[in-house]
């Protein structure tokens, strides 16, 4: 009696997991059946992968929680956000850079998301942390920085705890609700924070000529970081709607998918 139930539970979790990690091809359903059929070898590999992913997601949840706690404590003690960045800089850099591992997870296949999508997302975060806020000190006390850091913290805590609970087969509904609903507000807010920060950094970049290469030089190439940043800002215009609507579609599919599974049972 318990066996078929557990199998079904595994399958629905796997499907939800695959669905929630962004693998939306309709072929995925067939693949989960295939996976069950070639079970033995894959079970051991799957167990190690699951153990590692669980550890990774717990660690990342913890990292971003620490960041949240530090920020709240600082604000309660000092009453202002000035000087906050210096306190959280190291934790932020550490947590965000660690996320590069996620690209590796997709590349070796233990997480079924597109390498390119994950790569682009992680790279844009790394870019913001290392090439904007870390290197342009004058903007570190801007409100927009706090805005996007807060947004990122909330989003990442939700996301990583979602993955953790999924892997442990115990997903509280409110975490799933948070993951698939909060982005509707968080995502645009985060984009606003990032764009405002880059915009604030522009005058300092122009004045200092940082990361730029002028002619003449023996490589016969030039690079202007100022114009590069302007292009980056413009690229949000085509990219943001695509990602936003992708997440909206994922959300609809998860809710819709839930109904279908219930019908089967």
């Amino acid at each position: 009696m318990t066996n078929p139930r557990r199998q079904l539970c595994w399958r629905s979790v796997f499907v939800t997991f695959a669905v929630c990690t962004g693998t939306m091809a309709s072929g995925e359903e067939d693949r989960t059946v295939e996976e069950k059929e070639t079970n033995n070898k894959k079970r051991t590999k799957g167990a190690i992968a699951t153990a590692w992913l669980t550890f990774y997601n717990i660690a990342m949840t913890a990292g971003w929680l620490v960041l949240a706690v530090v920020m709240v404590r600082y604000y309660l003690q000092k009453g202002t956000h000035k000087g906050l960045y210096k306190n959280i800089a190291r934790t932020l850099k550490f947590s965000q850079t660690f996320a590069l591992l996620e690209v590796g997870h997709c590349a070796i296949g233990i997480v079924r998301t597109s390498v390119i999508v994950t790569g682009v997302q992680v790279c844009s975060r790394i870019f913001m942390v290392w090439f904007i806020t870390n290197s342009i000190r004058q903007i570190q006390n801007e409100e927009s920085v706090i805005l996007f850091v807060v947004v990122w913290t909330i989003t990442e805590i939700t996301r990583y705890s979602f993955y953790t609970f999924n892997l442990l087969n115990h997903l509280p509904y409110f975490i799933k609700w948070a993951r698939y609903n909060m982005f509707i507000v968080m995502y645009p807010l985060g984009v606003i924070g990032e764009l405002l920060t880059i915009h604030a950094a522009l005058p300092y970049v122009r004045r200092s000529g940082m990361y730029s290469l002028r002619l003449p030089n023996k490589y016969n190439v030039s690079f202007d970081y100022y114009y590069f940043l302007i292009i980056v800002m413009l690229s949000y215009i085509p990219l943001f709607p695509q990602l936003y609507f992708h997440m909206l579609r994922q959300r609809r599919r998860v809710l819709h998918g839930e109904i279908v599974v219930e019908k089967d049972e």
Partner: protein, 328 residues
């Protein structure tokens, strides 16, 4: 959905010659096929034809034949125009799946557009047309002779490509999806502008090793241009005019084709060589970047071609690599 019948469904060779030449009184049995065409994604029945016995005209309302992909399996490969209904693995009731390939454009059009662009764009930078560089440089020429040489090489390369498209190449497919022309032109035109900007810049720095470097680069460039052209001619001669047959290419009397012993797609090898020569000649990082990106794309194509050669011909020479002898 309206009736969509592509030319593939029409059997070019009718199953019964007796219908056409009634000179002999012997009657051959007429084989009729029933054909149904389903949409590959939704499996809706698009049309059903009974008694397909003779060549059907290809009429369609807005899905012209080049856009139609008819296949035996929804996820399989498209059938070709030359396929005859009789010779396909179907019973007397054939089920085909239809997929709309989207708006199509001919390969020749795409090639001509994507090659004409770099030719003209580079010349605009070479002649320093206004609004590119500072106004005092308008319509001036560079004082470095390597810049003039580079312009000649670059222009020669694209003129060669245009002429080959018009007179040499024999294309297997007539058309490609329309959006490819935007993608391809952005790539070619964008890179051409980026390279040309720096090579023809008033502050251009000539190669460090001066004349030696330029001479070597020019030799490599010309050698590979001739090689590339030789390969295109050899490939053209493999295929009689109007046919779409595929044969294994072999070295000919032309020494430039002897590379076929080691490589499946030497046209790409020579192309890489040409651009390496051009990079060396101009010592320009954007050119190196363009060479790298082109190399990656050509490697992908070469590997695909190599794989399809191996699949199609059992006696395919084992010494050959896709693009770089023994390496890749």
């Amino acid at each position: 959905l309206d009736l969509i019948v592509g030319s593939v469904v029409a059997a070019p060779g009718p199953p019964t010659p007796a219908k056409r030449k009634p000179t002999k009184k012997t009657k051959k049995a007429v084989v009729f096929f029933e054909v149904e065409i389903l949409d590959a994604k939704t499996k809706d029945k698009l049309c059903f034809l009974d008694k397909v016995g003779k060549v059907l005209p290809s009429f369609s309302l807005h899905w012209y034949p080049a856009r139609q992909s008819i296949r035996l399996d929804p996820k399989g490969k498209s059938l070709k125009d030359e396929d005859v209904l009789q010779h396909l693995p179907v019973g007397t009731t054939a089920t085909f799946y239809f997929r709309d390939l989207g708006a199509q454009i001919s390969w020749v059009t795409v090639f001509l557009t994507e090659y004409a662009g770099p030719l003209l764009i580079y010349l605009m930078f070479y002649f320093r047309v206004p609004f590119i560089y500072a106004p005092k440089y308008d319509f001036t020429t560079s004082k470095h002779w390597v810049v003039h040489l580079a312009c000649m090489c670059h222009s020669f390369h694209y003129v060669k490509r245009l002429l080959e498209t018009l007179f040499v190449h024999r294309f297997s497919h007539g058309t490609m999806p329309l959006r490819n022309i935007f993608k391809n032109c952005t790539y070619y035109w964008g890179f051409a502008a980026w390279m040309a900007y720096y090579i023809n810049h008033p502050l251009y720095t000539p190669p460090i090793y001066g004349e030696q470097q330029i001479r070597l680069a020019l030799t490599v460039f010309l050698f590979c241009q001739i090689g590339n052209f030789s390969i295109h001619i050899a490939l053209r001669n493999l295929r009689p005019p109007g046919s779409k047959t595929r044969k294994i290419p072999y070295p000919t009397k032309n020494p430039f084709t002897w590379i076929f012993l080691l490589v499946s797609c030497p046209n790409y090898t020579y192309e890489l060589g040409s651009w390496l020569g051009f990079t060396l000649m101009t010592q320009c990082l954007p050119v190196a970047f363009f060479t790298l990106v082109g190399f990656i794309q050509m490697t992908v194509w070469a590997k695909g071609k190599h794989r399809s050669y191996l699949k199609e011909f059992r006696d395919y020479p084992t010494l050959r690599s896709p693009i770089l002898p023994f390496i890749l």
